[in-house]
Symmetry: C2
Subunit: 228 residues, 2 copies
């Protein structure tokens, strides 16, 4: 093993960039990540990302050729996964012990994930008895950075008559999360697709004796397990 003993001497910004690249890479595994795309995602200028990418390349976390697309080294991935582990463990703690709701956790976890202490996060993990999933249904990497990537299918990919179980929601938008909980959907909710309307791809669903119509955009952000 090339155990370089990552001292994690990274700034908050450097960490944010690595995590962002990682998430863009897995979100759309087919397409490589570009500089402008990253700038967009992080809501900074392309000049800023270009600058930071140079630094991260020099430090050995990122690889790319001039005018080429970005990729992470093993070291870069490892930093990103550890951040995701911290983020998801904190979200779990906030929801399960401190009465936070889905839509409240993200901003605070975004701060907490940058706290540097191996013991802190491993003890938090132990305290909660090593949870496997965060409150949005996403897998939590273990202390060695290992985690199973469950192939995610969206509610929008199903057809009339299908029955599924909610396994995760995209936690990228506070408005979306609020909406999901307001209509009464929760993890493990069993959802039946009543109708998919050709006109606008809106979907009529039934869960817990509630019938709702949701938009295609909404259904794209809901991840499910097909049951029937």
């Amino acid at each position: 093993m090339t155990n370089k003993l990552n001292l994690n001497n990274l700034t908050k910004s450097e960490e944010d960039y690595l995590k962002a690249i990682f998430q863009l890479l897995i979100e759309d595994a087919s397409v490589k990540v570009g500089n402008n795309q990253l700038a967009d995602y992080l809501k900074v200028s392309p000049a800023s990302t270009n600058n930071m990418i140079k630094k991260l390349k020099a430090k050995g976390y990122v690889v790319s050729e001039k005018y080429g697309k970005l990729d992470l080294t093993e070291g870069g991935k490892s930093v990103a996964v550890r951040l995701i582990r911290k983020h998801r463990l904190w979200e779990t703690f906030l929801c399960n012990y401190l009465n936070f709701t889905w839509d409240e956790v993200h901003d605070v976890a975004e701060q907490l994930e940058h706290i540097k202490s191996r013991k802190l996060i491993d003890e938090l993990d132990r305290f909660m008895d090593f949870p496997k999933k965060d409150p949005h249904g996403e897998m939590i990497p273990n202390a060695n950075g290992e985690y199973s990537i469950v192939p995610k299918i969206t509610l929008s990919s199903l057809s009339e008559g299908d029955v599924c179980q909610l396994v995760a929601v995209n936690d990228g938008s506070v408005h979306f999360l609020k909406y999901v909980s307001e209509i009464g959907l929760a993890l493990s909710s069993e959802i039946k697709i009543l109708e998919v309307r050709e006109f606008d791809k809106s979907i009529r669903i039934k869960f817990d004796n509630t019938i709702e119509t949701v938009t295609r955009k909404f259904a794209d952000n809901v991840f499910v397990n097909k049951v029937v």
Copy 2:
């Protein structure tokens, strides 16, 4: 009330400076705080503190005249007390729930105290059932920033034959904290002063059937309640 609704738009550095000034002010209430003293305490150059003080004066947190000593406004004190509340609540959490020891908590709490979320800290407080003291015996300010300042007497101020109870330890040094727990002293330990040696002011103490000799410097950092 002049409730300016403190948006807490302060950087980590600004917060650190305000907390440092507050602590220097109460640690030695008789003497006002000077620029070089602050620089020393924060381990930065006097030029840096001078610069920051200017900014904090402009923002209305600090008052001082040119070449004069420093003081905090009500706003400045309020920021500092909130930081101390956060610091002590996190220390309590780390010790009581995450298996941290006295000497391990400080660095991590120093990071955690800068997390910005009113809900986070108030919920953490509730989760622990509103603790009154941190693991070192220091009072924890409540959600309104109120806390009783218990007049602290040091072990070194007692005389032969006195009996006291350990109520707090100065948490400024990791080495000291390690030492305290290694010899077996803990909060509430009952300590009897057997002998105060004139030569070097070292003190022979007895607690839990242990007899130890401690230096004057050590005894200066141990705070007690006189029992007999």
